[in-house]
């Protein structure tokens, strides 16, 4: 075997039997998306540092289950992702995210553009299965352009990372323990209105669900023309990434 062939071998793994080349330092998720292979995810966003909290991206390798978004790609890994068993597990996780919050899609401005909902469709979720928690979570409408409906928050941490790592503002954080975990705002009052969040910040636009919403922009696209009316999440996801660097707000 020549040197070149070796080098390629050293940077190749398989996902569901398909050879995938990866670069050193990439995660399994990075490698998969680069190869246009969809591994379901909710708390991941190409271009942001991964977190590993939702566990939708679970894959099997070497008899172990790992989260693809936080596991380094390694040469020779044989990864199973799109299997009936794993999709059942993912459906359970999705159901758990639904029952833990208050998701009333018919009354939600995000409906049709919501990734949690689209994940439910993709995984064939007909019902939530588990007992609903009916949590009482605070709403925050203090910001002129954005409102926060924590009832729908799935604690994915994307807004936290987007604000800290891209917007350079650190507007959000997750507080509390266990089932009491909840999103907080980094202001003395805890109110969004006192933060410097701008409607154009990535953090104001990254929420996969209807927890961080733009005011006065509900139901703009008619049913049938919303994102996931037209294309399923596995197709949309392959084109997704953090937009090129934005001007940071220094005030």
């Amino acid at each position: 075997m020549g040197y070149h062939a070796m080098a390629i071998n050293q940077n190749t793994l398989t996902i569901d039997g398909k050879d995938v080349h990866f670069e050193q330092g990439q995660t399994i998720m990075d490698a998969a998306l680069a190869a246009k292979i969809y591994i379901p995810y909710l708390c991941h966003y190409p271009g942001l540092p991964p977190s590993g909290n939702c566990r939708l991206c679970v894959v099997e390798t070497n008899g172990k289950s790992v989260a693809a978004c936080i596991t380094q790609a390694q040469a020779g890994q044989r990864i199973h992702s799109n299997t009936p068993e794993l999709n059942v597990v993912r459906k359970m996780i999705t159901q758990m995210l639904f029952v833990e919050g208050n998701h009333i899609c018919p009354a939600c401005e995000k409906s049709g553009n919501c990734k949690l909902q689209a994940m439910g469709y993709y995984l064939g979720m007909h019902e939530e299965h588990f007992h609903h928690f009916n949590p009482r979570r605070a709403l925050d409408a203090s910001h002129p352009a954005i409102f926060l409906d924590r009832s729908r928050c799935i604690l994915c941490d994307l807004c936290v990372r987007a604000s800290r790592d891209v917007d350079g503002k650190n507007v959000f954080a997750i507080a509390g323990r266990g089932a009491d975990a909840h999103l907080i705002v980094n202001t003395d009052s805890g109110k969004l209105g006192d933060s410097n969040l701008d409607r154009n910040d990535l953090a104001a636009n990254i929420c996969p669900v209807g927890a961080i919403m733009h005011k006065e922009r509900g139901y703009v696209s008619p049913i049938g023309q919303r994102i996931y009316d037209q294309q399923p999440i596995n197709e949309i996801a392959l084109g997704e990434h953090v937009p090129e660097h934005k001007e940071r707000d220094h005030d």
Binding site: F98, N102, H103, P106, G112, Y121, H129, H132
Partner: protein, 180 residues
């Protein structure tokens, strides 16, 4: 299948009749369907109690004691019970009261709300007593199939019912799923 017609019963619990309306929306196919089915208890027939039926369709979640009784009657009498629509499946819009205590809700509506004239929480024994929360039907009885949507599109009813009429398990394709 024999010539005998498939008996279908329907009910609306804590729902808005939107699912029933959508069902009727299958238009001319309803005529075809009608050759193979007959309705038992249903808002469409005004029969008051559910007799033995092949298929039960439940619209709406469970918000009071009466809903529980109707739902149980359906479960006891229907071979196949189907939860139809968001409200049946997860409480839907009526479940928006679940973020509040029942007392808070009732006090707001009947005592402190704007425009209340004769402040008093109704306590008439004729009225069905409210449950503390609005529950999905599958938390109260066993459900065989779920037909999501708010309401489910007319075609989805056919996708669900046609195989059942032929004694087959229905399948709703993932790309047909809608929670709104």
């Amino acid at each position: 299948m024999t010539d005998q017609k498939i008996r279908i019963a329907t009910a609306s619990l804590a729902g808005c009749f939107g699912c029933h309306m959508s069902f009727l929306d299958i238009d001319e196919k309803l005529v075809q369907l009608n050759e193979r089915i007959e309705f038992n208890r249903s808002p469409l027939t005004d029969i008051k109690h559910c007799g033995p039926s092949d298929i039960g369709l439940i619209e709406g979640g469970v918000c009071n004691a009466d809903n529980v009784r109707v739902l149980r009657e359906f479960r006891a009498n229907c071979k196949v019970l189907i939860a139809v629509g968001a409200c049946a499946i997860n409480g839907g819009v009526p479940a928006m009261r679940n973020y509040f205590d029942l007392r808070e809700c009732l006090e707001e509506v009947y005592l402190h709300g704007t425009g209340v004239t004769n402040p008093q929480i109704p306590d008439d024994a004729e009225l069905p007593l409210l449950l503390d929360k609005v529950y999905p039907v599958q938390e109260v009885v066993r459900i065989d199939y779920f037909l999501p949507g708010c309401p489910p599109p007319a075609d989805a009813f056919l996708q669900m019912l046609m195989p059942l009429l032929d004694g087959k398990a229905p399948h709703i394709a993932n790309n047909q799923l809608h929670y709104d």
